[in-house]
């Protein structure tokens, strides 16, 4: 399966997960305050610098993860130019790209179990209402985990379409995509259940037999 992850032990991987997500939240807030293109361009450049500091593979992964967003940004920018406010289009485009790139960066350098542990910690007050903190933790982690799977699934369906058609697939793939995702979620549910699912974890691990 595909996934948005960059295994390694770089400086960014070693930062505490709480710090990474705290900084990300602060950066997101900050970016909504910036309204001039120049500071936003600087922010995008700084984000690119973050990727560069991790080497060529990080840059490639980041670019790959950003590509679907670029289409949306191009669409918005074109719309703003059409409306006669090209500067607004530039500001929006820069802001969206920087935000998504930053979020991707944090996701790439955060091992999924670290993220699960963080959410579990944050969701601990929920235990008072009888809700296991592991529930939202696994749920959020799995959503993040499955975004790239969604893209991969779409590509497979498009390939399968093109193998039998001369035209581009377009929105007609959405229904089969939804169905195949339901199928995927069944498999995921099985995989989770096979390893204990969301049952409360035993307080004492089993004693090894060998």
């Amino acid at each position: 399966m595909l996934s948005l992850a960059l295994p390694g032990t770089s400086w960014a991987h070693r930062l505490p997960v709480g710090l990474k997500f705290g900084a990300l939240a602060a950066a997101m807030l900050g970016l909504t305050w910036l309204t001039a293109p120049l500071p936003l361009a600087a922010a995008l450049a700084a984000t690119a610098g973050l990727y560069l500091s991790l080497g060529r593979r990080a840059v490639a992964e980041g670019a790959r993860a950003l590509r679907p967003v670029l289409w949306i940004v191009a669409f918005i920018a074109a719309w703003q130019v059409w409306e006669g406010v090209p500067m607004l289009g530039l500001v929006l485009g820069l802001r969206i790209c920087t935000m998504v790139a930053l979020a991707n960066f944090v996701t790439l350098v955060t091992p999924l179990p670290d993220l699960i542990a963080l959410i579990e910690r944050l969701a601990r007050p929920l235990a008072r209402f009888g809700l296991s903190p592991r529930l939202p933790a696994l749920a959020i982690a799995l959503v993040l985990r499955f975004i790239p799977v969604l893209r991969g699934r779409m590509e497979l369906l498009a390939l399968s379409w093109r193998a039998r058609s001369r035209r581009r697939p377009g929105p007609r793939l959405i229904a089969p995509l939804a169905l195949s995702l339901l199928d995927d979620s069944d498999h995921l549910a099985d995989a989770l259940r096979a390893r204990g699912g969301l049952a409360p974890r035993p307080a004492t691990p089993p004693q090894g037999r060998d």
Partner: protein, 235 residues
């Protein structure tokens, strides 16, 4: 404690179709093969034994654990390898995939990681730790699944068609690995040659046991029936 799989008058329906109606089996052998055609119910049986689906009626226990209800207990009783490793792997990197099950068993994160590392080293793949699962080959991903299950030290390991979509060396390798396991094994296949050396073979047909016994007694009849079916049913 007896480590057997005990199935008593099991009734199981899926999406309105009755798959098993009063099936009873007691399985305690070290190597058990389950053969049958597609749609015979063998995969459903395996999933029920793993506790992934709950029966409508009857009892199913593995090593004394009610596997469908007691999920925490089931983890030490039985582990399963799905036919498609991609349906099993949840986490992006190999070490995370191996450690997850151990955490689910209640091991603290550090211990889970340590044990996961030890398992990788045992199979000579310490370098896979930070590899992304999706970059591994089909056979390698299957091995990741096997290591993840072994790390949890269940008494039984269930295999659902483990040789499908593997090339010949990879299939031979997994066959040798299964043979070397200390655990009890229950393996589903439609290929009689794969279970010829097993202690017991159960042939399932339309949700019922068509034959059950040592391979020499079951497999010849199974092969004959499959050949007859090929001639009787025009495609």
């Amino acid at each position: 404690m007896d480590g057997s799989i005990e199935i008593e008058t099991l009734t199981l329906e899926r999406e309105g179709t009755r798959i098993f109606d009063g099936l009873s089996l007691r399985i305690g052998e070290r190597r058990v093969g389950v053969v049958g055609r597609n749609g015979s119910g063998k995969s459903t049986l395996l999933r029920a034994v793993a506790g992934l689906i709950a029966p409508q009626a009857g009892r199913l226990r593995v090593a004394g654990v009610d596997v469908a209800r007691d999920r925490a207990g089931a983890l030490s009783a039985v582990g399963i390898l799905f036919q498609n490793p991609d349906h099993q792997i949840i986490f992006p990197t190999v070490i995370e995939e191996l450690a997850f099950g151990l955490e689910q068993q209640g091991h603290p994160r550090g211990v889970a990681r340590e044990r996961a590392r030890a398992m990788l080293a045992r199979f000579g793949h310490a370098d896979w730790e930070e590899r992304l699962c999706h970059t591994l080959s089909q056979g390698q991903r299957q091995l990741v699944c096997l290591m993840a299950v072994l790390a949890m030290e269940p008494r039984w390991i269930l295999f659902d068609e483990p040789f499908n979509s593997l090339d010949i060396p990879a299939a031979l390798r997994i066959e040798a690995r299964i043979a070397a396991l200390a655990q009890n094994v229950m393996l589903i296949t439609h290929d009689p040659a794969r279970v010829a050396g097993y202690d017991r073979v159960i042939w399932i047909e339309a949700g019922r046991v068509a034959a059950d016994g040592p391979p020499d007694a079951v497999l010849p009849a199974y092969v004959a029936a499959m050949q007859a079916a090929a001639q009787d049913e025009p495609c």
